[in-house]
Symmetry: C2
Subunit: 458 residues, 2 copies
């Protein structure tokens, strides 16, 4: 199965593309203008041009094959548009228009009918009642949400607004996605199919799901079991509490069901459970790193406090602090200042420069008792130092040692460390700002290794 | 007891103020130049001017009474400087210089000697081995850390670097402090005394502590029991895990001790325990709001997902979702669209404008079954809407109803909602970006009400 026509279409029609900045069809077409892998055609029933581009009255008038149609028109016109798309030979429809199954039984019936029409033409529908989809790797933003930062997480959200909120939040925080899929009412395409597609792509390193309720649990589990053999799947489930579940059920119309049942299903299919949005993002971001072979973590830091908090967070996740070899400790002692702590966590103290980061990271990565490294940098308090030299030191060590052990960064200095974070991330080393987030990432690496059966005996 | 000479001094001497931008004494003097409540004098053994200000060879040469001295000179000169301060009649010394008790037994002895000298002159010492202190309410930044944003949290940190990291982080996130106190080795002034001082100030609405190890546990508890009757105290304890505790002990030299013992002590003295830095900040920020009378929370939102996640987070903290009165539900139904959910959480859906926020907030605050309100706003997806109008609506309702129930904001839209957040916060309504943070704040309000004995029967 391939959903390439959704995420790498050769030509896209925006049915409802608009010149009126107050309409969502304006935003969608504007966002799609920067699409790199194909053409984008506006469809508008009355304007000859949309945002300076020649428009068509009907999708069928477009003098080109169209794989994907984004539909964002008043509800009463949707059915005809779906028929038109079918006749045109469109393969995928992203139906943004709302007012269907989320409203009432009549709406449910209407959206089922749309799906039947689509299937008759061999066409698939994402939505209705969604905010759209994005593929950051070819600059396809087929949504009315701002561009997400490019990254490695394939994110599927059952709440459009929450999904959008997460995009806005991550843009501010510098966290990226490979794909964002607002799945809406899941009248046709659902979590299972999308997971299966994302399992085989290059650019999606992990799959993150925001779930309110799953309709076909058995199928979800079957697919998840298969997918999690290839790629990590992380789920944030809303409605864990009774009151939350009640609210979720009134929101999506899907029965939220008991959290206990979901929890058991996720665990059986090796889907990792996130507690919060940040937990989900932190875990999913970890997978630009290689698989870990064990759960013994080494921590290096230029300040004691953050090292201690990270050790606590690692412990809380059930991971272990590595017992460094005597040889490693001796060599650390040979160049670090007397006040440094050379046991794990290794506290190089505030005087640590890039060279100290390099030498320490090298020794820790080479230690056979270490499976994974967390490198921490707080505000360098010594004048003339920058977090960037620290990041450079760590990167040099990783390249030199090159033994496939995962490395994660933790920078706790707000704006001051943004450049260093970006540098590490540009080399695929995920970097965090909070001890609990880097611990969640380490945990996710271990859990996925366990699911894949490559974790050494613990 | 008053530490006003530390936080509202009439004149400050910076011993070790420097013209060399690579020295910490440069940063400290530069930061202190904007101090508003008194004069700042540089002391430098060789330069006649420091950063354009007439300098003195010795603190004793300053032609003015000096309350506070910041000492940031090589260790070998510190003892004489303390003697000079004593002879000058200085009342408080912030000793930034490191290399004392955190290094070895000899250093411990040396810092004890300094304290003895100070006490002989009736002088008190904060430090040594600290990054300095701040009072944002008179722009006193007597540290080499960047200015914190002005706020309501009195924050005492046992790790200077972590404290600094938190300042940098909060500047980026728009979170403010009233005071920041890097307590260093606590050779003299300790947590207990500072808590006692902060308990009686106007501008510190809550006291937050980052603790690695407490030296005199019994005294801490005695004071904490007293202080928590007046003001909330929130603690983040590092070294909860065994490995973390070992690391903490090597870091500060103080015995971290078993977390179980600390936990019991904190609970007995009504000190609230934070799990993470953000948890600590979220709780402490809540107290610009009035005391709650109960634990029944109403949630209003313009999107279902965030409402559900917040309901889950509230439940996890042991708080309750309020059962709205029939009358409230009826009235909500009268003006909200048919698709809105009028039970708690109230989902006004994406079309909600400022007026809807106003009317809904008013009804919820007036409902006798509601003790506290959380107002959520995700990205407004309807063109022309801004989170600001939502914030304005809520503020209007608070002012009109004026019945002393606490209100907390949750904005999940990154940059887009920054203005709205600022608006709410300028009116004392703390606003958060994550469901778990706003739930932590609600929890803290309830816990403090319980400690004060004003919580209604549950």
């Amino acid at each position: 199965m391939t959903f390439d026509y959704f995420f790498k279409p050769k030509a896209i029609a925006v049915i409802g593309a608009s010149n009126d900045p107050l309409k969502l069809g304006y935003e969608v077409f504007k966002n799609l203008k920067s699409y790199r892998d194909g053409k984008v055609y506006p469809v508008n029933v009355k304007d000859d041009e949309v945002q300076g581009v020649k428009a068509y009255r009907n999708v069928k008038d477009i003098p080109d094959d169209v794989d994907l149609a984004i539909v964002i028109i008043p509800k009463r016109f949707v059915k005809q548009a779906i028929v038109d798309c079918g006749e045109k030979g469109v393969k995928g429809v992203v139906l943004i228009t709302a007012g269907f199954g989320e409203v009432d039984e009549k709406g449910k019936k209407e959206e089922r009918e749309l799906v039947e029409i689509a299937h008759r033409y061999g066409m698939r529908i994402i939505g209705p009642n969604c905010v759209g989809i994005m593929n950051t790797h070819n600059d396809m933003n087929a949504s009315f949400v701002m561009d997400a930062k490019r990254g490695s997480i394939g994110f599927i959200s059952q709440s459009g607004a929450l999904g959008a909120g997460i995009i806005y939040k991550t843009v501010k925080e510098g966290i990226g996605f490979s794909k964002f899929i607002s799945i809406g009412n899941m009248a046709d395409v659902d979590f299972a199919e999308l997971m299966e597609y994302l399992a085989d792509t290059e650019e999606d390193k992990a799959i993150a799901l925001y779930v309110e309720g799953i309709k076909n649990g058995r199928r979800f589990m079957e697919v998840a079991k298969r997918v999690t053999k290839k790629k990590p799947v992380i789920v944030l489930k809303a409605g864990k509490s009774e009151s939350g579940a009640r609210a979720a059920s009134s929101h999506t119309g899907s029965l939220a069901g008991s959290w206990k049942i979901y929890e058991a299903a996720f665990k059986q299919s090796n889907v990792m459970i996130a507690d919060t949005i940040d937990d989900m993002l932190s875990m999913a971001r970890a997978f630009t790193q290689p698989l870990t072979r064990g759960n013994r973590v080494a921590i290096m830091t230029n300040a004691g406090g953050p090292g201690v908090l990270t050790a606590d967070a690692i412990d809380k996740k059930g991971l272990k602090l590595a017992n460094l070899e005597g040889k490693t400790i001796e060599e650390l002692r040979s160049f670090l200042p007397p006040m440094a702590a050379v046991k794990n966590p290794v506290d190089m103290i505030a005087s640590a420069r890039g060279e100290d980061y390099y030498r320490t990271a090298k020794l820790l990565l080479e230690d056979p008792n270490v499976d994974m490294l967390i490198s921490i940098c707080v505000v360098p308090t010594f004048a003339g130092m920058t977090p960037t030299e620290h990041a450079e030191g760590v990167l040099r060590a990783i390249k030199e040692v090159d033994n496939g052990k995962p490395v994660l960064g933790l920078f706790m200095a707000g704006y001051v460390s943004e450049k260093a974070k970006e540098l590490l991330e540009s080399e695929g080393v995920p970097s965090y700002e909070r001890p609990e987030d880097v611990a969640a990432a380490a945990y996710a690496l271990v859990e996925f290794a366990r699911a894949r059966g490559v974790l050494k005996d613990e």
